[in-house]
């Protein structure tokens, strides 16, 4: 992980995305802020339903309408606010500057078109030119994801490929227009373990070759350790902790992060009972006033249940929102979690 990390390319400020359902307003993303530098890999971890996917969908402005709406916030991609743009301008951004790899390769590709067709489609949206040149681009993209014999492969249909191969094709689609940022939403969850490792290595190599940034959503801390420079822990729609990976692993400040790390079974120690966090995440339409993790937290007191903790930081740009840190850590000046 010794690539050159450059300036900030993405800044998310106080993002709020709500879902309007018949049971009430679901605050899927409730005040999330972070920033991303060039060449950096940011991991987002958390339980299902904590808002990870909705956050990244909000970046792309692809939240499921009409139920979901981005109600507040700014998303600054190289200085431009994406939430302020027209839809047609946004479409220029999608795929070209900001791109995404979906989770399940089995369903992300349209079964009735060849992969060449789908790859070319991504390219022709953003590039004009002679078809021969564009086709060459497609083949190059396939080469970049290490697909063998790409000239032949472009004529294949998705069902003729293995899962790992399909996910590479999805990867090729996302890098085909040389984006600045790739969002990877649990891209290896559906793959075999051996293929997983290959794929992650591939992503890393591409990152080194092109210098792009990656936002990596996962629930697997092993992947975080391998891939990410920084990590952001989310719970019930908000960020609870964020900072450099090493720091978080060695000194998790928030009880939730600590619990998450504890629940990863270890290979070295003797097998004991699997640690599971007691309780359930709160219903997102009926949130408690205080810290959202407090009902499940072993260290919670009355203040935790009544007042939502602000962020505290230490010197290593490690930030966490827990009252226990009030005495030991500092209150950051600015609201945004920038490094």
């Amino acid at each position: 992980m010794t690539q050159h990390i450059g300036d900030v390319v993405l800044e998310v400020e106080d993002l709020h995305t709500y879902l309007y359902t018949k049971w009430g307003v679901v605050k899927a993303v409730d005040g999330v802020s972070f920033s991303l530098r060039q060449g950096e890999t940011l991991g987002i971890v958390g339980e299902s339903g904590c808002g990870k996917t909705m956050t990244v969908l909000s970046l792309l402005r692809l939240v499921p309408r009409p139920a979901a709406r981005i109600v507040q916030g700014r998303v600054l991609l190289q200085g431009e606010d994406l939430l302020d743009m027209s839809e047609s301008d946004m479409r220029q951004i999608r795929g070209r500057k900001l791109s995404m790899i979906l989770q399940d390769p089995q369903t992300s590709l349209n079964p009735v078109f060849t992969i060449g067709n789908q790859l070319l489609e991504a390219i022709t949206i953003h590039h004009k030119g002679r078809s021969r040149a564009l086709v060459q681009r497609a083949i190059n993209a396939l080469k970049q994801v290490r697909v063998a014999a790409p000239e032949r492969r472009v004529q294949d249909y998705p069902h003729q490929m293995s899962g790992g191969m399909k996910q590479r094709v999805v990867g090729a689609i996302s890098i085909s227009c040389e984006p600045h940022i790739i969002i990877a939403d649990e891209p290896t969850t559906s793959l075999d373990v051996t293929i997983q490792a290959q794929y992650l290595r591939l992503l890393k190599e591409i990152q080194e070759e092109t210098g792009l940034s990656i936002i990596f959503i996962t629930h697997d801390f092993g992947i975080v350790a391998k891939m990410c420079d920084r990590v952001m822990v989310m719970y019930a729609g908000r960020v609870v902790e964020s900072g450099p990976v090493r720091d978080i692993f060695n000194h998790p400040a928030h009880p939730y992060t600590h619990a998450l790390l504890q629940s990863v079974p270890s290979m070295d120690e003797r097998p004991q009972r699997l640690y599971a966090i007691e309780g359930q995440p709160p219903a997102l339409w009926d949130l408690p006033p205080g810290c959202r993790f407090a009902p499940r937290c072993p260290h919670a007191d009355t203040r935790c249940l009544q007042e939502y903790p602000p962020f505290f930081s230490n010197d290593d740009h490690h930030i966490a929102g827990c009252w226990r840190l009030e005495s030991t850590w500092k209150t950051p000046q600015s609201f945004t979690l920038s490094t």
Partner: protein
């Protein structure tokens, strides 16, 4: 895919055979046509003579004399049927049954074809847009049309349309076969039900597809929404309604019976009604077999088209 087609083909043949059996029995149960053919005063010898002439005195299935096992009505029927010979029409002297049917078939196919075209041209866009604009006024309007379409009795619609457009407004002719003006009313009456059913199917198939992951990916690529809908969704969504096409063919054919009688359209449907009334079972047999054959053929074609549209089946 070869295997697939062969299997479907054999099934079709089986279905056709069962049809012939049913038709054979039914047509003979219809009542003795001799009662219709012969005048009241005809004596028993007259009766026997005509019966012999038409082969109506032979037993149905079991031969009287096993040395001639094929001297039964059914055997003769099958033998001739396989050669396309359904005998002479009892009512329309001078024509063979098959001839009559084939003569009238183009008219029915023409009508059914137009009706099908109308229903597809209307149902497809309405269905797609209803799904894309879900729960808007357009969608609700579409649902209403679909509901109405499936509730209207086609004969009543035919009569009402005829009344309004031909009688009151005088824009269109009331009956007979001819050019476009003659075709409009019958085609609409015939196709109306299909528009409704097809539109519902297209809509629900589209709704399913619109939720797919690959649609999401297409949007992530930056593809314009209309292209997402028409290129990605439609290709996938078209597969489900296509299977309905095989039923559509059957419905259109049988519906033609009613519509043709209302509009006096000289097709096989009208022929069927007349033939049944006249107890002309040769013609009835021929018609039912031909209908069944057309229906089965359409099924086969739809299956092949299905395999073509969905490469997953093609490459099995």
């Amino acid at each position: 895919m070869q295997r697939y087609i062969v299997v479907r083909f054999l099934q079709s043949i089986l279905a056709l055979w069962v049809m012939s059996l049913i038709v054979f029995c039914l047509a003979r149960v219809t009542g003795n046509p001799l009662d219709v053919l012969l005048p009241m005063e005809a004596g028993p010898e007259e009766y026997e003579r005509i019966a012999k002439h038409w082969g109506l005195d032979k037993p149905w299935f079991i031969p009287q004399d096993w040395s001639q096992p094929f001297d039964t009505q059914y055997a003769t029927f099958m033998g001739k049927a396989l050669r396309g010979d359904f005998g002479n029409s009892l009512k329309w002297q001078g024509y063979t049954a098959m001839n009559l049917v084939l003569q009238r078939l183009p008219a029915t196919l023409e009508l059914a074809g137009i009706a099908l075209a109308i229903s597809v041209v209307l149902a497809l866009p309405i269905g797609v847009l209803s799904a894309a604009l879900k729960d808007t006024a357009f969608d609700n309007g579409g649902k209403l049309i679909a509901l109405l379409g499936q509730s209207l009795p086609s004969f009543w619609l035919a009569i009402m349309l005829m009344w309004i457009f031909a009688v009151i407004l005088g824009w269109l002719p009331t009956s007979g076969r001819g050019g476009l003006t003659h075709m409009i009313l019958p085609a609409i009456s015939l196709g109306w039900f299909q528009v409704a059913a097809l539109m519902r199917l297209v809509r629900s198939a589209m709704l399913d597809v619109l939720d797919s992951e690959f649609v999401k990916l297409a949007r992530v690529k930056g593809l314009a929404e209309w292209k997402v809908v028409w290129k990605h969704c439609l290709r996938n969504a078209a597969i489900a309604p296509l299977t309905y096409f095989s039923i559509t063919a059957g419905v259109l054919l049988t519906g033609s019976v009613v519509i043709e009688s209302v509009f006096a359209w000289p097709g096989t449907g009208l022929l069927a009604v007349d033939a049944v009334r006249a107890r002309d079972f040769q013609v009835v047999q021929a018609i039912v077999i031909v209908f069944a054959a057309v229906f089965i053929l359409t099924n086969l074609l739809v299956d092949i088209l299905y395999a073509y549209l969905d490469p997953r089946i093609r490459y099995q």
